[in-house]
C-alpha cells in the first residue's frame, strides 16, 4: 500500500530506572509536512527523538519505528543518518575553528581517491549554502557567524547528506526575531522541496504559524494530534492539551501563616553572557518575604538559573550590566558564592551531579562542606561534632543510606537531592534558592522535599523555587513570577494563578 506516512512510531515505551519516560507513545509523520511536537519540559519530547535517532538504541525501548514502510533497528546515530534522518540540536555540534565547508562535509568527506577533494567540497558547499539562503564565503571559520547563521550551516550539513527527515530541537530558542523568521521561512522551503521537518518547540506562536500537524505529549504519553487544516490549533487549545491534568494531592498543605517583611530582593538585574554577547537577563526585579515560597516559573532557557547564579556571587563570570540585591535591608551585590553564603543566601543547584555534590566523597563530607567554619575550633575540624551533625541531618530529613560514610555517588537521585538540601540547611540561610528541586526524583522523595520546604518557611526562612513543572509551582508557591527569554513576563498571587495563565506568560516572547 502506498504510504502517506514517512514515519510511524508505534507504541513506544522507554523506561529509565524508576521513571517511565515514554508510555505507549504513537507518533505519525506525513511525508513532506512540518510536524510540531509540543509539551512541557519532561513530557518526553527529547526522549522520543532520541529513540528515533538511535541515541537510545534498538532494544532499550519497546515498540516499533516504521520509517519509509520498513521497521528500523537503529543502534547508533550513524544508522539513522544513513537512512536520511538528521537532528539539529539546540546546542550546535559544529567545530568553531574550522571553515564552513569542512563543517558541512565533516564525517562524509568528498573523496578523490584516497584524499579529500577540497575544491569539490567548496563548490558543493556553496550549493548547500544557497539552499539555506546563507550568502557567505564557505571558507570562513564557523565561529565568525552568529548563532542564527551557524544553525543554517547545520541545516546545510543535513542537506548535504541528502536527508529526507530533519528534526529541529528548539531551533529558535537562542535566535532573535529576524533570524527566527528566516529559519521558519527556510523550513517552509524545505517542506516545499519535499523534505519532512519535525520541530520541537515551546514557542506556540511559531508552532501555530508553521505547523501542518501538531502532536502534544504530556507525561510521556501522546495526548492528541491536531491537523492545522481541520482542528482548532489556537494557542489556548494547545495549552489546554499540554497542561490538562488532574491535580492529585501530592502537595502537602502548610498551615496558614503571616509573611514578614521583604527578606530578599533582586533589583534591575541586567546580565550579558560574555561568550555570546547576548543579553540573557533584562531588568529583572523580584522579591520574597520572610516565610514565603516564591515560585519562579519558565521554560528551559528562560534565564532562571542564570538569574540565580548572577545573584549568588556570579561564579561563572557573567557580565553584570546593572542590578543589585537587597538582603536584610542592605543593598549590595555579592562578589563570590562565599560572600553570598556569609550574608545568608544559599543556592541548591539544578545539576546536582554536575555542580552540586562531590560524588566521590561521602554524605558526611558533602553535608558539612559549605559550613566547616561552624565545626572548626581554630584550624582543626571537630570530627566528632561533624559526625553528630551529619547523622542528625541524615535522620531529620530521612536520607536513606547505611551510614553517613556512604559515598554520595552511590545514592539515588532523591537521596542525593536531600544531601544537597542538608548541606544548605546546615548553613542556616535566610533565603534559599531551590533550582528544579525535584527534577529526576521519584514521587515519594518529591513529597518529602515539599514537606521539608514547608517546614523551612514555617521556621522563618524564605524560599525561591525555580521550576519548569507547572503543577509543582502552583502547588507549592505562595506567589509566583514567570520568566520568558530573560524577562519577567508576569507576577501572580497563587489565588489568581491557573496553569493556562502561567503557560501563556511562559511562552510570551518579547
Amino acid at each position: 500500500m502506498d504510504n502517506e506516512y514517512i514515519l510511524e512510531m508505534r507504541n513506544i515505551t522507554k523506561e529509565f530506572p524508576g521513571v517511565k519516560a515514554l508510555d505507549n507513545v504513537n507518533f505519525k509523520v506525513k511525508k513532506g509536512e512540518i510536524h510540531c511536537l509540543v509539551g512541557e519540559n519532561g513530557a518526553g519530547k527529547s526522549t522520543l527523538m532520541k529513540v528515533l535517532s538511535g541515541v537510545w538504541k534498538y532494544g532499550t525501548y519497546t515498540g516499533d519505528i516504521v520509517y519509509e514502510g520498513e521497521v528500523q533497528q537503529f543502534n547508533h546515530i550513524a544508522d539513522s543518518e544513513a537512512k536520511g534522518i538528521a537532528i539539529i540540536y539546540q546546542e550546535l555540534a559544529l567545530f568553531p575553528e574550522l571553515p564552513i565547508y569542512e563543517n558541512i562535509y565533516f564525517g562524509h568527506e568528498i573523496m578523490n581517491g584516497k584524499t579529500i577533494d577540497w575544491n569539490e567540497t567548496i563548490i558543493q558547499s556553496r550549493e548547500m549554502l544557497k539552499k539555506v539562503r546563507l550568502d557567505v564565503d564557505p571558507s570562513l571559520p564557523v565561529k565568525r557567524l552568529n548563532t542564527g547563521n551557524q544553525q543554517l550551516v547545520e541545516i546545510a550539513k543535513a542537506l548535504s547528506k541528502n536527508c529526507k527527515l530533519i528534526i529541529f530541537d528548539e531551533p529558535t530558542s537562542s535566535l532573535n526575531e529576524d533570524d527566527s523568521q528566516n529559519l521558519l521561512d527556510i523550513m517552509r522551503e524545505l517542506r516545499d522541496s519535499g523534505i519532512t521537518c519535525i520541530m520541537i518547540s515551546h514557542k506556540l506562536r511559531e508552532v501555530t504559524a508553521i505547523a501542518d500537524t501538531i502532536t502534544v505529549l504530556r507525561d510521556g504519553t501522546t495526548i492528541c494530534s491536531l491537523d492545522a487544516e481541520t482542528d482548532d490549533i489556537s494557542e489556548a487549545n494547545i495549552i489546554k492539551h499540554m497542561v490538562g491534568r488532574s491535580m492529585d494531592n501530592v502537595y502537602p498543605k502548610r498551615p496558614e501563616h503571616e509573611f514578614g517583611d521583604v527578606a530578599f530582593e533582586i533589583k534591575n538585574l541586567t546580565v550579558e553572557d560574555p561568550k555570546t554577547g547576548r543579553e540573557i537577563l533584562h531588568d529583572v526585579n523580584l522579591k520574597v518575604r520572610k516565610g514565603e515560597i516564591v515560585g519562579l516559573q519558565g521554560l528551559m532557557g528562560a534565564g532562571r538559573t542564570e538569574c540565580a547564579l548572577s545573584v549568588f556571587g556570579n561564579p561563572y563570570g557573567y557580565n553584570i550590566k546593572s542590578g543589585s540585591v537587597v538582603i536584610d535591608g542592605k543593598e549590595t551585590f555579592f562578589k563570590s558564592p562565599s560572600d553570598a553564603i556569609k550574608n545568608g543566601l544559599a543556592y541548591v543547584t539544578e545539576d546536582r551531579k554536575g555542580n552540586g555534590l562531590i560524588l566521590i566523597q561521602d554524605i558526611r563530607y558533602n553535608t558539612t562542606l559549605a559550613n566547616l567554619k561552624a565545626l572548626s575550633e581554630g584550624l582543626v575540624i571537630d570530627e566528632n561534632k561533624e559526625v553528630v551533625v551529619a547523622n542528625k541531618f541524615k535522620d531529620d530529613i530521612n536520607i536513606k543510606a547505611p551510614s553517613i560514610a556512604q559515598k554520595v555517588g552511590n545514592l539515588s537521585g532523591g537521596n542525593q537531592q536531600k544531601v544537597q538540601i542538608a548541606k544548605w540547611l546546615f548553613v542556616e540561610p535566610k533565603v534559599l534558592i531551590l533550582d528544579e528541586p525535584t527534577r529526576g526524583i521519584d514521587v515519594g522523595a518529591k513529597f518529602e522535599i515539599y514537606s521539608l520546604m514547608n517546614k523551612m518557611v514555617e521556621d522563618g526562612m524564605s524560599i525561591i523555587m525555580i521550576s519548569s513543572e507547572l503543577p509543582e509551582v502552583l502547588g507549592m508557591s505562595d506567589r509566583l513570577y514567570v520568566m520568558s527569554e530573560g524577562y519577567i513576563t508576569g507576577e501572580l498571587n497563587i489565588e489568581d494563578a491557573t496553569e493556562e495563565k502561567v503557560m501563556a506568560m511562559a511562552i510570551k516572547g518579547n
Binding site: 549568588f312 561564579p315 563570590s336 558564592p337 562565599s338 553570598a340 553564603i341 556569609k342 543556592y347 543547584t349 554536575g354 555542580n355 552540586g356 555534590l357 562531590i358 560524588l359 566521590i360 566523597q361 563530607y365 562542606l369 559549605a370 566547616l372 567554619k373 572548626s376 584550624l379 582543626v380 575540624i381 570530627e383 566528632n384 559526625v387 547523622n391 551510614s403 553517613i404 560514610a405 548541606k423
Partner: protein, 394 residues
C-alpha cells in the same frame, strides 16, 4: 556491623579483594626489596644501605608530598626538578660567595621557592594558563637560571657542617659512646605507641558511630604487623648510626601535611576542588586561593628538596634536578593518588617514594646502567597508573 559470621580467612580474603589497590603498593615495595636483597646477596637490608636509602629518598619524599596536593587538584608541576636545582645553587652561592650564614641562606632559598610558587600559581589561577604549560615553561626558565648561576663557578663545594648534616648527619644519642643508638630505638617505640593509640581511638570512634570496622583478630594482627615493621626499621637504623636528620625533616613535614589534609578546612577544600571544582566553588570555597596555596607549597617544598639534595652531594652542580619531577609524580601515583583527581594521601605518596627509591637504590647497588634505570622506572610508573585507572573505573 560484625553480625555476619565469617571466618578470619574469608574476611582476610574479602579485605584483600576490596583493598587490592591500597595494598598493591606495599606488595610492590616488599617484592622489590626482596628481589634486590636476594640479587645483591644480602646487601640491600644491610643497616648502612637502609640508612643510605632513607637519606637518598628524603628529597623525593618532600617533592612527593607537595606533588600529591597538586595532583589531587588535577594540576601538575613539571618545574619542581629545576626549582630544586636552582634553589640548591642559590644556597651554595649565598654561602660560598657572599658568606651568608647557612641557616639564613636556607631561609632565603625557601623564600625564593615561595615566590616561584606565587608566580606559577598566579599564572595558572588568575591568568588561566594551564598548569602543564606554566610549569613546562618554568622547567626551561629555572633550568636556564640554574646553569646561569653556576656558569662562572662551576660546581660549588659546601663545607658548612650544619648544612651538610641535613642529609648526611644523624641525631645525637642520649647515651654516649654506645654501639647501639638508644635514642633512635626510643623514638621507634614511641612511634609504635603512637600508632597503636591513634588506631585504637579511630576504631573506637568508628564503632561508636556504627561505621564498619574489621574484626578484632584482624585489627590486632594488622597492628602487630605494622608495629613489627616500624620496630625493625628503627632497630636497623639504631644498629648503624641512628636516625638520619633527613628522616626527621621528612617526618615533620609529613606530619604537618597529613594533619592539614585530614583535619583542617584547607585540606577538605583541596579534596573538594579535586572531586568537583564547580560544586566546591558553589559551596563557597575560594578555588583560586586554595589552588594558589598548593602551588606555593609545592615550590617551597621543591626549594627545600633542593637544599636536601645539595646537602646530600655536599655541592651544588648544574645537573642537579634532572628528572626529579618524574620521581615525585611517580611516587604520588604509585601511592594511590587518583589520575582523575580528588583522591590521594601524602603518607601513601611516601610509600610510593620508597618504591621508586628502592628501585633506584637497588639498581645502583647492582651497578645497573642509568639508561636501564630510567626504562625500568618508566615501566613501573605506567603500570601503577594503568592499574589505578582500571581499578578505579571498576
Amino acid at each position: 556491623m560484625e553480625n555476619t559470621k565469617k571466618s578470619i580467612g574469608q574476611e582476610l580474603a574479602q579485605l584483600l579483594k576490596d583493598n587490592i589497590k591500597s595494598y598493591m603498593m606495599y606488595i610492590a615495595l616488599v617484592v622489590i626489596m626482596l628481589v634486590f636483597q636476594i640479587w645483591s646477596g644480602g646487601m640491600f637490608f644491610k643497616a648502612s644501605n637502609i640508612s643510605n636509602l632513607f637519606n637518598q629518598a628524603a628529597y623525593v619524599a618532600i617533592l612527593a608530598i607537595g606533588m600529591t596536593l597538586i595532583l589531587i587538584l588535577k594540576h601538575i608541576d613539571l618545574s619542581v626538578g629545576y626549582v630544586a636545582g636552582f634553589g640548591g645553587a642559590i644556597a651554595a652561592i649565598l654561602m660560598a660567595s657572599y658568606g651568608v650564614n647557612q641557616w639564613l641562606a636556607i631561609l632565603i632559598v625557601l623564600a625564593v621557592g615561595f615566590l616561584i610558587g606565587l608566580y606559577q600559581g598566579t599564572l595558572v589561577m588568575r591568568v588561566g594558563v594551564p598548569a602543564f604549560v606554566t610549569t613546562l615553561a618554568g622547567m626551561f626558565i629555572f633550568r636556564g637560571l640554574l646553569s646561569l648561576s653556576l656558569a662562572k663557578s662551576g660546581t660549588i663545594v659546601i663545607s658548612q657542617p650544619g648544612f651538610l648534616a641535613l642529609c648526611n648527619g644523624f641525631i645525637p644519642d642520649i647515651v654516649k659512646n654506645s654501639e647501639f643508638h638508644v635514642l633512635t630505638m626510643i623514638i621507634g617505640v614511641i612511634a609504635v605507641i603512637g600508632v597503636v593509640f591513634s588506631q585504637l581511638k579511630k576504631r573506637r570512634s568508628r564503632q561508636k558511630y556504627n561505621f564498619e570496622v574489621v574484626s578484632g583478630p584482624i585489627f590486632v594482627g594488622g597492628l602487630v604487623l605494622v608495629s613489627a615493621v616500624i620496630l625493625l626499621v628503627f632497630y636497623i637504623l639504631a644498629e648503624y648510626k641512628g636516625l638520619p636528620w633527613s628522616s626527621v625533616i621528612v617526618g615533620v613535614i609529613l606530619a604537618i601535611y597529613t594533619f592539614m589534609l585530614s583535619k583542617t578546612k584547607l585540606g577538605r577544600y583541596i579534596y573538594g576542588i579535586g572531586g568537583n571544582d564547580q560544586a566546591a566553588e558553589l559551596s563557597g570555597v575560594d578555588v583560586k586561593k586554595v589552588t594558589q596555596f598548593a602551588f606555593i607549597s609545592m615550590s617551597t617544598l621543591a626549594a627545600l628538596a633542593g637544599i636536601m639534595y645539595t646537602s646530600r652531594l655536599s655541592s651544588a652542580t648544574p645537573t642537579a634536578g634532572v628528572a626529579f619531577e618524574l620521581d615525585a609524580i611517580a611516587s604520588s601515583y604509585i601511592g594511590g593518588t587518583a589520575v582523575s583527581g580528588g583522591v590521594g594521601k601524602v603518607t601513601n605518596a611516601i610509600i610510593g617514594t620508597f618504591v621508586i627509591m628502592s628501585l633506584t637504590n637497588g639498581m645502583n647497588l647492582m651497578s645497573v646502567d642509568i639508561s636501564y634505570q630510567y626504562i625500568v622506572k618508566g615501566i613501573i610508573f605506567i603500570i601503577a597508573v594503568a592499574f589505578d585507572v582500571r581499578t578505579r573505573s571498576k
